[in-house]
Symmetry: C2
Subunit: 229 residues, 2 copies
């Protein structure tokens, strides 16, 4: 937790917050904060700054919000729904990289059972997003949309800017250091099937490759985002 | 498992292998292989190719090795020892990206208990490396060295090529698309302390930043590798 993310409900008045639950436990047991300590804080959707501990029980901070969060990435990320086991890491990781728009979509190689995972609850997706922001010292939550049918999603979706689909067999290399809006689609383990890639191409996506190595989705997200921006 | 990694002990003769243990279970339960199926294979430290299933019980393949593995990255990665919980992912992830030389080192912010983790056993480090190669369809195992003392390591280590240390406060941005040998050091959660960064600078390392976001080590490894190469 490199920043404590604050919500409206934490504020006692415009300059004071009281922390409870997970953040209270973290500040107490990991930061081992004492009265007078300064901690990095930020308001969800707003500015970042510093919180000075004014009381430990209850845990209260006096906050000064004097800087903007890091700039968001101009990226819309479309991900075939990952296995529940890796979903949390993927959401937190993408959020830590600055991704602000995530679509989780179905694909032939996504097992149907994945859509029943309790990890897809709004509460869990919010928690993973918060963990990503806290890691990266960011404050702006991503939007995460679920699309349980591939075809209606792709046929109705209009990509913004340069639209790319990561597809290991593609002959074109993923471009570098794009100074523009990008929409990036990443398939499931085993990749999108040929018909899905064709649907994405009809919707304006260009297949690009990251080289001969096949990466796990969480590694691929970081590698592609870092290469593109 | 996008490639089945074979070892000398698997070979019945130069063209036939028998699989046991984890790979047997995977080919049977995930690939659900039948006699006549082709699977991607590769020999540890050698070439890759195809294995045709000739028998299921015992599981035997006839292998043809007709291609080289992906080129290794010209990178030496120096990592402050990560928490045991993330060590496996970091090793498998770095290996999947093509890293062939890894040094796990001590640092002020590495908890002493991490060095006692059973995950540091040679058997586990080999398994995680194999998982990374299987993911990336590579065959060349990385070397992984452990250095339990920071200072003797840094004072005796001579970096190859461009030597960089990822340091969030650095004013210089991490360079892109380097066509040369790189040695990259990445600190623990919370970063290297100032004295450690100074020691690394004396050893020839230049501090570089990835921007205002602080990334988890597994995300940072993928982001930095992708940016550098």
């Amino acid at each position: 937790m490199n920043l404590i993310l604050l919500f409206d409900s934490d504020f006692l008045d415009p300059e004071h917050v009281r922390l409870t639950g997970r953040r209270l436990a973290h500040v107490t047991s990991v930061h081992r904060a004492a009265v007078g300590d300064s901690l990095a804080v930020g308001v969800a959707g707003g500015r970042a700054g510093t919180g000075v501990v004014t009381s430990l029980d209850p845990l209260e901070l006096r906050v000064t919000l004097d800087r903007d969060p890091p700039p968001p990435l101009p990226l819309t990320l479309i991900l075939a729904l990952p296995r529940p086991k890796v979903l949390n890491r993927v959401i937190a990781g993408a959020t830590s990289l600055g991704v602000k728009r995530i679509h989780l979509i179905n694909s032939w190689r996504v097992e149907k059972s994945y859509w029943k995972s309790p990890r897809l609850s709004p509460e869990n997706l919010l928690l993973q997003s918060v963990l990503g922001l806290e890691q990266a010292r960011d404050t702006l939550l991503p939007t995460i949309e679920l699309h349980r049918l591939f075809r209606p999603f792709v046929e109705s979706f209009t990509p913004s800017g340069l639209a790319l689909v990561a597809h290991p067999p593609a002959s074109r290399e993923c471009p570098r250091a794009i100074d523009a809006e990008v929409t990036l689609a990443i398939g499931p383990e085993g990749g999108f099937i040929a018909q899905e890639v064709e649907s994405l191409e009809r919707a304006g996506f260009t297949p690009v490759s990251l080289g001969p190595r096949i990466l796990r989705v969480e590694t691929a997200v970081a590698a592609l985002v870092s290469r593109l921006f």
